[in-house]
Amino acid sequence: MTDDDIAQLIEQGHETNGVEFKSSGSLGDAHFRAKLVRAILAFANRRDSGVVVVGVSENRDKTLNPTGVTSAHAKSWDFDRLSGIVSGFADPSVELSLEVRRYKGRTFRVIVVSEFAEVPVLCKKDHGNVLRQGGCYVRSLRKPESREVAFQEDMRAVIGLATDKAVARWVGLARHVGLVGALPAQPRPALSRYDEEVEGLP
């Protein structure tokens, strides 16, 4: 990720399914930590995962205010510390990286999360009303927010991703040991009917 990537994410003006903004905060603040962990767990369960950008607050009119991470908060930020915090809640563990990026002279912390490798990541510990033991956190497909699974399509997306990965592993292994050969190709579809649809556009 580059400073230009961060500029582009901020200039979109709002969160997306792959991006969550957080106001400047200290890793020493338990409530802030819990919210950060919730976002990280949600991204780990999302296809293509996502990033948490710390140092961007939201104004009352919902516009973004990229203040950067304050120098007082910046002292608390350290990869090992962040990794340890996340490990305390994530089962299985989450692969992530922490980057320092600049935008308009201000400094931001960017957490790049990887999607889970084999099985969805669940929360293994409660924290107030932010995190629940056994909870499966996701980025909702209905609006960009990190939350515990509440809608059927969100649950299907997580199950679908886990299934895809399991099937891909099985196919890879089966190919490797010669159990699966190439499937016979289906004939390529004629374009005529599909062309008619495009030509019929208003």
Binding site: H14, G18, R47, D48, S49, V51, R142, A168, L183, A185
Partner: protein, 234 residues
């Protein structure tokens, strides 16, 4: 819609069409569910999803299709999901709408009005295209082949550049002279691995670069792919 697409095609553009191999009149059961379903399979390797499914804006629901347009900043695109399973996506080249490419250190000066195509942007877009086609096949016609047609237009007099300030630059100017768009016709098979899709994307990128009489080493393009923010090939 046609007007919007024609406007996009008056400049540089990327067009993808995805066609299930077995024709059926109705692949989508619920038109209202299409937006959410697409949002779940859109590829998000670099901060802006492919295709861009805006949750903030409504889609247009018509008798046999659902579609949405985006016009924001330097992003111009339209997607249309037909009930038959056909998917159409057309996007303008960002550089043609004011996106500033961060050029390689040794790239020649860019003349005002000069049309550019980034080497990195191309391999990124091909990677997004191949992965989305595969995900779309899995969601819409699982277990079947999918025909994926790609068209890249507005190439004439366009210059291929290194679009990464941390890389060098090309040793000479690579400019396309073709009026005709670049086209590719892929067959996406069930069970294609991410690594195979990534390789296919690199091959497509090199086929497009040929129009500029340029060729990149496969390992170099793989390096570009790994540079994408969230790209973690399994």
């Amino acid at each position: 819609m046609k007007e919007f697409i024609a406007a996009l095609k008056s400049k540089g553009y990327w067009q993808a069409r995805l066609l299930p191999s077995i024709e059926q009149p109705k692949r989508w059961g619920d038109k209202l569910a299409i937006k959410v379903a697409l949002n779940g399979i859109a590829v998000n390797f670099r901060g802006w999803d492919y295709p861009h499914v805006s949750l903030q804006h409504n889609v247009v629901i018509e008798s046999d299709r659902v579609w949405q347009t985006t016009e924001w900043n330097y992003f111009r695109e339209i997607w249309c999901a037909f009930l038959s399973g056909q998917f159409l996506h057309v996007a303008g080249m960002r550089a043609d709408y004011g996106a500033a490419l961060q050029l390689g250190l040794l790239e020649d000066h860019v003349e005002p009005g000069e049309k550019l195509l980034g080497i990195g942007d191309t391999v990124y877009r091909m990677t997004e295209f191949a992965h989305f086609a595969s995900r779309y096949a899995q969601a819409v016609c699982p277990g079947e082949d999918l025909r994926a047609l790609l068209e890249v237009g507005g190439l004439k007099d366009r210059r291929l550049v290194v679009d990464d300030p941390n890389r060098g630059g090309t040793s000479s100017r690579y400019v396309a002279h073709t009026e005709a768009p670049f086209t590719a016709d892929l067959l996406v098979r069930p069970g294609t691995s991410d690594a195979e899709l990534a390789r296919e994307a690199r091959n497509l990128a090199n086929e497009l670069y040929e129009l500029f009489e340029f060729r990149a080493a496969d390992a170099v393009l793989e390096g570009w792919q790994r540079q994408m923010i969230y790209y973690r090939p399994s």
